[in-house]
């Protein structure tokens, strides 16, 4: 597309993309990110009437991420918001929200889709290296055959860039495909492999299923990447430490990285480091707001998570207020050496339960 706001944005994004993905300390990161966010703001003002209406009265540019307008993620569950002409939409991403029955619809043009892949690869390379690894997918092969692209299929397709000769560990009915799993282990026992799946699937259909079958694997050369949220596991009293402990016990995998990311912001994922913290890459930012006043919380205080992504130009979803609760634990000083904010997710905002906006909320 050749409209001027999009050209400005593309130039700013390219220059941001040159930086190391976890190499920017706070002030440098802000200096690199704000031109991109301001360009996205102006682009969506010009191209999305809905965005223009929702941000009516706001200035054209901002100094800091917290000054930028944000849309409630819920909006994307009810409307298909677009900043491109219909004939440029080349993919519609569906995601069934965990709380809402109506699926989120995210309209992608080619440029946004390409940036999603580029960003995901750049971020994941930081944890997996550049080489592609034999990949065991904890899902059934039928998930990617469905024409309507579910968030699950899109997630698998995104991670497939890191795999070679992918093997699906589950049958159509979600039972263990023991033959495939054994063959995979036999063939690749000597070198590094990648195991990928959705958190709930890994737990229920792999770890638990193996436990019930009284089987143990020893995938000591594997890295497990998983994502998709903890909601169903929290109901089963499974948190990240106990998840990792069982993964180690039953699968023999010690390198485990969860990642947090919105279906509305595919590409800019927040990956858990070796010390167990989720990290904001240079291409994205996280803010925590008070659920009542929506004012910015201080570091360490829990509140609603706002995510900002440098990627979406085909739909006005670069700055979203989620329904997740989280807490920023530090910035630029994680022991893993990555710059930027690191944080934890504490669950979802209870729908009916509105408690005080204290720094202990949700933190237990």
């Amino acid at each position: 597309m050749t409209n001027p706001t999009n050209l400005t944005y593309c130039a700013e994004f390219d220059s941001l993309f040159q930086h190391q993905v976890f190499g920017l300390p706070a002030l440098e990161k802000r200096a690199a990110l704000m031109p991109v966010f301001n360009a996205l703001h102006q682009h969506h003002l010009a191209c999305s009437q809905t965005y223009a209406r929702l941000t009516h009265g706001q200035p054209l540019s901002f100094r800091t991420p917290d000054e930028l307008p944000y849309l409630a993620v819920r909006l994307f569950k009810h409307y298909s918001l677009s900043s491109v002409p219909d004939n440029e939409v080349f993919r519609v991403l569906q995601s069934s929200g965990t709380t809402s029955q109506s699926p989120a619809k995210v309209l992608l043009d080619k440029a946004t889709s390409a940036r999603q892949s580029k960003a995901l690869v750049k971020i994941m390379q930081n944890f997996l290296g550049k080489q592609r690894l034999p990949m065991l997918i904890i899902d059934s092969p039928s998930v990617v055959k469905n024409k309507a692209l579910s968030a699950r299929a899109a997630g698998i397709q995104g991670m497939a860039f890191f795999g070679r000769q992918p093997v699906y560990a589950l049958n159509e009915d979600m039972s263990l495909n023991s033959v495939a799993i054994e063959a995979f282990q036999r063939q690749y026992h000597a070198g590094p492999v990648l195991v990928f799946g959705f958190t709930f699937m890994v737990w229920e259909y792999f770890v638990r299923a193996l436990q019930i079958a009284k089987q143990r694997l020893s995938m000591t050369n594997a890295t497990l990447i998983h994502s998709g949220g903890w909601k169903t596991l929290v109901d089963k009293q499974v948190d990240n430490p106990s998840f990792k402990q069982k993964v180690s016990e039953v699968l023999g995998i010690e390198r485990v990285h969860n990642f947090y990311g919105m279906a509305e912001q595919v590409g800019t994922v927040f990956v858990e480091c070796e010390h167990g913290f989720l990290h904001a890459p240079s291409l994205a930012e996280i803010l925590i707001r008070c659920p009542y006043t929506l004012k910015l919380q201080k570091m360490g205080q829990s509140g609603l998570v706002q995510v900002l992504s440098s990627i979406p130009s085909s739909y006005p979803g670069y700055s979203l207020l989620t329904e997740d609760l989280g807490r920023i634990l530090g910035e630029d000083d994680c022991l893993c050496g990555r710059k930027g904010k690191y944080f934890e997710i504490l669950g979802r905002l209870p729908k009916t339960e509105l408690r005080g906006c204290s720094d202990t909320m949700g933190a237990g």
Partner: protein, 85 residues
């Protein structure tokens, strides 16, 4: 196999695109770009990558996969691994 061994690398490349994406050889020219035809979507892309790896006996990394946005780009990337095209 006897036929394949007498093929030039250029012919092998075209054949790999045809086999992986299920398109005719007329479709495969330098200008053909990723995501511009239905057959070359992200799923087709991974099949293509693995076909190119087998045909030319190379191992492509994740940067290569992202960069391989056209037939011309595929040639540049393969050249990096010593495949003359």
């Amino acid at each position: 196999m006897a036929v394949k061994s007498t093929m030039s690398n250029q012919q092998k490349l075209v054949q790999a695109f045809c086999d992986a994406l299920g398109v005719s050889s007329q479709t495969v020219n330098d200008e053909l770009q990723y995501n511009t035809i239905r057959e070359w979507d992200s799923t087709g892309h991974m099949v293509l990558v693995s076909e190119l790896e087998t045909v030319f006996n190379v191992m492509l990394d994740t940067d290569d996969i992202i960069d391989m946005s056209s037939v011309a780009k595929a040639k540049t990337i393969l050249a990096k691994y010593g495949v003359s095209l």
